[in-house]
Amino acid sequence: MATYTYTSRPRALPCQRRRYRDSLLQPEEEPVRYGNIMYDRRVIRGNTYALQTGLLPGQPDPVELQRKQQAKKKALAKKRAQEQLKPRTPEPVEGRKHVDVQTELYLEEIADRVIEVDMECQTDAFLDRPPTPLFIPARTNKDVATEILEGELFDFDLEVKPMLEVLVGKTIEQSLLEVMEEEELANLQASQCAYEEMRNVELAEVQRLEEQKRRHEEEKERRKRQQWEIVHKQNETSQKIAACAFAQRYLADLLPSVFSSLRDSGYFYDPIKRDIELGFLPWLMNEVEKTIDYSLVGRTVLDMLIREVVEKRLNSYERKEGSPPSKWEEELEIPERKRDSTINYLTQEPSTLQAQKRLSDTEYLRAPSIDRGPPTQERKPVEEEFQGPDDDAEMRRSLDTEDPTGASEL
């Protein structure tokens, strides 16, 4: 079976504001007012969660109000319509007036005040249903009496027995239980206390032992440290002693060696010696030098004299004859050479003098130097010159000595 479907073309719903016409005069057909649902008061707009769902009890429902108003209006309109439709008497002719007249046989007084009579009536209040009367059937029995003496109906001992049993039994049971409980608790407590006591004692003992042990340890430590210190000190002392002894031995011949080295390097000097060295000997050398210089100067002067003389004689001889120059050339040469040598002497004199001076200054004790060629050569001739005043002999000797130098020329 197909599901129910309903389709209709969408159409605008007319706005039904008025169901009835207000007056007959209004035309029947009016353009149907179509209401915009946007402005329809029935359509809820806005949030629906904050809407008042119900009405306050004091206020009247607006819808209800509206309905009531509408109903009123309807009623009014209906009434008016009815009024209009009702047949009425025509209006009085001009000059006349309608009057109400009684036409019955017997006139009745028409008074404004209506005769009123009050009549009341009331029903009785409801009464409760009465209780059912006890059904006491008629007595059909006989009365009989009897006498009861004390102790016949009720025997205290008998009656009280179960009570007593319960009382005593329960009491005993309960008290026994309680005693046992208390006893157990007390036992527990006691054993706990005893245990604690024992524990305390043992703890105290342990602490004491610990304390003792600690003290022993401390003592041991202290003794060890003391001992170590002693040993250390001993070691140090022995080391010091050894070092001292060694140093002493090492430095034993320090003093003599120091002194000897100092002496060697000349820090210890005999002042007289030093004085001689410093003062006397240089002076002596100076004096010697001076003397030698004097002699040298003297010799030089002498040489110059001789040279002059020889030159004069040569000049005189040359003037005399300018022949066999060999001997005289030799002699010329010789004097030239002699001149040269004298020149050499002259030029070299300062140097030799200086050299000699140097020699005298530094190495007076040592053997004379060996590498000075010219000074030795010159010394020899100086010596030779010093030795003999013989000119020719000197010249020959000088020739001889100068042969190796002048051999090539010859």
Binding site: T171, S191, E196, E197
Partner: protein
């Protein structure tokens, strides 16, 4: 039994409301104390209850001690009961003591024997009597002192039973004086050595008494 005549049924019997309580207390006391003569003891109990005196009940159920050499009937518990009853005054009248002794169903001869150790007239210093009692309980002086401490202490049971040192000294001196074996010098030296171990003037069991442990214990 003065009953009204109109009692018909058991439900009308009236039980006084205090009765169950009294009965219960009495039963419990009886169970705890285990007197040999119940009637005697009950009389003493109710008399004490009536006068408002401390009741002759043991605080703990005491199992009969197997180590009791002589059947004196006197146990530490009973001594404690006596102590509870008599300790509020320093001196106890002899008649009073005798009555209390009887209430506990102890043989009176023992009382006389005890009192012969240190004769009194009609007033006994309670501490001395207690010390005497303790000495009959234990064998040695030390054991007697142990019982003495346990009875006098206010510490919970099982804990360190501490009593003031002066009391201890007093009791010790008294007992050692009665005991001819121990010389006074020894007593004094012992007490002096104990004094060093005492803290806040209270001497406890552990200070002078070393309990003998069984070899099986760890």
């Amino acid at each position: 039994m003065p009953l009204p005549d109109t009692m018909f049924c058991a439900q009308q019997i009236h039980i006084p409301p205090e009765l169950p309580d009294i009965l219960k207390q009495f039963t419990k006391a009886a169970i705890r104390t285990q007197p040999t003569d119940l009637l005697q003891w009950s009389a003493g109990y109710f008399l004490a209850l009536l006068h408002g005196d401390p009741l002759p009940i043991k605080d703990r159920v005491e199992m009969p001690m197997a180590t009791q050499k002589t059947d004196t009937g006197l146990t530490p518990g009973l001594l404690k009961v006596l102590h509870k009853q008599c300790s509020h005054k320093p001196y106890v009248a002899l008649t009073d003591l005798e009555q209390k002794w009887r209430t506990l169903c102890l043989p009176v001869q023992r009382l006389w024997a005890l009192l012969q150790l240190d004769p009194f007239e009609d007033q006994i210093e309670w501490l001395k009597f207690l010390a005497l009692g303790c000495s009959t309980l234990g064998g040695s002086l030390n054991k007697a002192m142990k019982h003495f401490c346990e009875i006098l202490t206010t510490d919970p049971e099982g804990g360190p039973a501490r009593i003031p040192f002066d009391t201890f000294c007093y009791a010790y001196r008294y007992l050692s004086r009665l005991d001819s074996d121990v010389s006074e010098l020894d007593t004094e030296s012992y007490l002096a050595s104990l004094k060093d171990r005492v803290k806040n003037d209270m001497i406890g069991l552990s200070d002078f008494f070393v309990p003998q442990r069984s070899p099986t214990e760890p």
